[in-house]
């Protein structure tokens, strides 16, 4: 019995090693096939056949979200994955707790909206320029502005530690949201900015690619994610990445060893913010309409949950987490019929809606707790962090 468990554990541990041990061509082929599958994912004929039979209810558990448009859900997953990758740099690598990460998303989205909408006040009232800019040109500007706001926020606040940094960043995101909501001079308050530009490109018959259909947006965001993954991977394995790990593990020790901690923390903030801004500009390219309602604090918290659910400091983890926080609640919306789940129960004359749609965040929240209890390193952990956590678990004093 014991040997069996040991064997099982060893096998589990080796899953990643086994993949690493494959010859390079095999690894590249496997990754390529996986990526092709990802590109195929929003195709109806493909996703409808994903799933597996179960011995209950309607007998078949589909992978896709029957309650909502699959490509739309995938696109939403896409920009959340980008956000998670950005926050992963700040939180997972440099260990800075940023609770207001969605603020940078807002900066990116508003920049794109202001520059590409013909109804933007920059054109109609202030005459800064004659006609709206193309979407593609505004993306680098959005990234740059998000980065700048990251530096501006980081400069005074990165001297604070831990929980104080958390509340300051939380405040920052809330200030951006309220400013966007209340002021009328540029951002148009709650009425928002309509007719935001879309990414360029037409099919051969002259129809625009980026219109109402979600699939092209998903392909775009997927491509961007792949590029960003390569950039972050290289960064994490470079001198900068090592500096971040040193800061995360012990800031004072890092400083003593000659790591300019403030500079690298600021870099982490700026890079994370840039990715957040990029995500915002992609979202704005699809959304058509930008107002403050999108930028509520709950979203920042969802991104944070994504990073830690997946495993802080791990790119795979950020991707898995970003996917799960959007996909899971949407999917739960649709699985009710499969299991024959009741939609309503009556307790003492009060009707309670217990459909998965209504309870999806209850299930998601409970899942967060369970994962944190049994797998605190996250679902797809960073090795170093997982090892750190294991050490901590051994240190626990049996005092209770």
């Amino acid at each position: 019995m014991t040997t069996e468990t040991v064997k099982k554990q060893r096998w589990k541990l080796n899953l990643r090693d086994r993949f690493q041990d494959l010859p390079l061509p095999a690894r590249i082929t496997a990754m390529a096939v996986f990526v092709v599958l990802l590109y195929l994912l929003p195709t109806k004929a493909f996703y409808e056949n994903l799933g597996f039979p179960i011995p209950m209810g309607s007998g078949y558990l589909p992978f896709y979200t029957t309650g909502s448009d699959m490509a739309g859900v995938l696109f939403q997953c896409g920009y959340y994955i980008l956000l998670a990758l950005g926050l992963n740099v700040v939180l997972g690598y440099a260990g800075l707790l940023d609770l207001g990460f969605f603020g940078f998303f807002a900066v990116g989205a508003y920049t794109v909206a202001l520059l590409t909408s013909p109804e933007s006040k920059l054109i109609t009232e202030y005459n800064w320029f004659e006609s709206p800019w193309p979407w593609l040109v505004t993306v680098p500007i959005a990234i740059a502005l998000a980065m700048l706001s990251g530096v501006l926020l980081g400069w005074p606040t990165l001297r604070l530690r831990g929980d104080y940094l958390a509340i300051v960043t939380l405040g920052f995101a809330e200030i951006i949201r309220i400013v966007a909501k209340n002021q009328d001079w540029i951002l148009n308050g709650d009425r928002g900015i309509p007719s935001v530009g879309h990414p360029p490109g037409t099919y051969s018959n002259g129809e625009a690619i980026f219109e109402l259909d979600f699939a092209p947006y998903y392909w775009l965001v997927l491509t961007v994610i792949i590029v960003v993954i390569f950039l972050i991977r290289n960064l994490a394995n470079s001198r900068v990445g090592r500096a971040w790990v040193a800061i995360r593990e012990d800031e004072d020790a890092a400083e003593l060893m000659g790591v300019p901690t403030f500079k690298f923390k600021l870099w982490a903030f700026a890079i994370g913010a840039a990715i957040g801004g990029l995500s915002g500009s992609l979202w704005a390219g699809q959304a058509n309409f930008v107002n403050s309602a999108t930028f509520s604090l709950e979203n920042s918290i969802l991104v944070l949950a994504a990073v830690l659910l997946g495993g802080a400091g791990s790119i795979g983890g950020a991707i898995l987490g970003g996917f799960l926080v959007i996909y899971l609640p949407e999917w739960l919306r649709s699985v009710g019929d499969v299991f024959g789940w009741p939609t309503q129960v009556t307790v003492g004359g009060i009707h309670i809606d217990v459909s998965p749609t209504s309870l999806r965040f209850v299930i998601f929240g409970a899942l967060l707790i369970v994962v944190m209890i049994y797998r605190p390193q996250g679902l797809w952990p960073n090795r170093r962090r997982a090892a750190e956590l294991k050490d901590r678990q051994k240190e626990v004093a049996p005092v209770e």
């Binding site: 707790l97 104080y164 809330e174 200030i175 604090l297 309670i352 929240g365 967060l368 605190p376 004093a397």
Partner: protein, 316 residues
Amino acid sequence: MNFDDLIQGFPDLTTTGLAQGSIYALVALGYTLVYGVLRLINFAHSEVFMYGTFAALWTWGLMGYDSNSARPDLGTALLLIVVSLVVASLFSGGVAMVVEAVAYRPLRKRNAPPLVFLISAIGASFVLAELMGAFTERRQQGIPGLLPTEPLFSAGGWTVYPLQLMTFVVALAVMFGLDWFVSKTRFGRGIRAVAQDADTAALMGVNKGRVIGLVFLLGGLLAGVAAVFYSMKQGNTRFNVGFLIGLKAFSAAVLGGIGNLRGALVGGLLLGLVEAYGAALFGSNWTNVIAFVVLLVLLMFRPTGLLGESLGRARA
């Protein structure tokens, strides 16, 4: 900038600010107590508060008062408030202890790092808020008007309403009670000991698990008191009211120095005043921005808050 409003309304704004600040301070104490002992932002505390508002609503409902009832006479109103204070605090305290037992205790046993606690807290917060959302069909529910709406007294442009006075007085009384409890009693000594150094305290015979449970219970009780006054002031409640109050109260706790009981009081009242004055000066839309800007500026000059972190160091 509207200085006229600020100057003319100054006395009234001060009373409004102090009443609102008392509510913030009561909730902030919950954050501060838990943070002082566990170094943990108890994200689910805002939901503990929200459950308090519903407990109050249901208590009044069971006693025959809903949002359509006529205003009761003063004696009945006081009785209703006292009963709801007891029920709401116990209910909130119970919820807080359940959160501790389900979401935090297993993590403590595994010596998890603070971030893991934070995510678990966020999970608990989702579960609590959405359960209440499902139970109440996500509808806003009206709170019966209880206290008379005529001013208690009014002199030279200064009016005080019964609810404001009651909120302030009860909140102060509760906070002094808590201060006494933490600095003078045996349990309080346990709390301070665990806050200073949990492992050493355990070696000295302090039951760490019980102290932590007690801290959550205390935080919940205070949140329940705050919830009763908040619902009476607001006139309604909803499954998501906790979020904003929680955010403000946490800011208040940080403002005064998180982990410091008197800091939470000072921070809460200060935040209430700043919001009231700021709203008069810049318009009520900007209330939250002003609150956060003040917090950011203050943290830049006093990175550990006004009074500093010191639950452990608070001596009798």
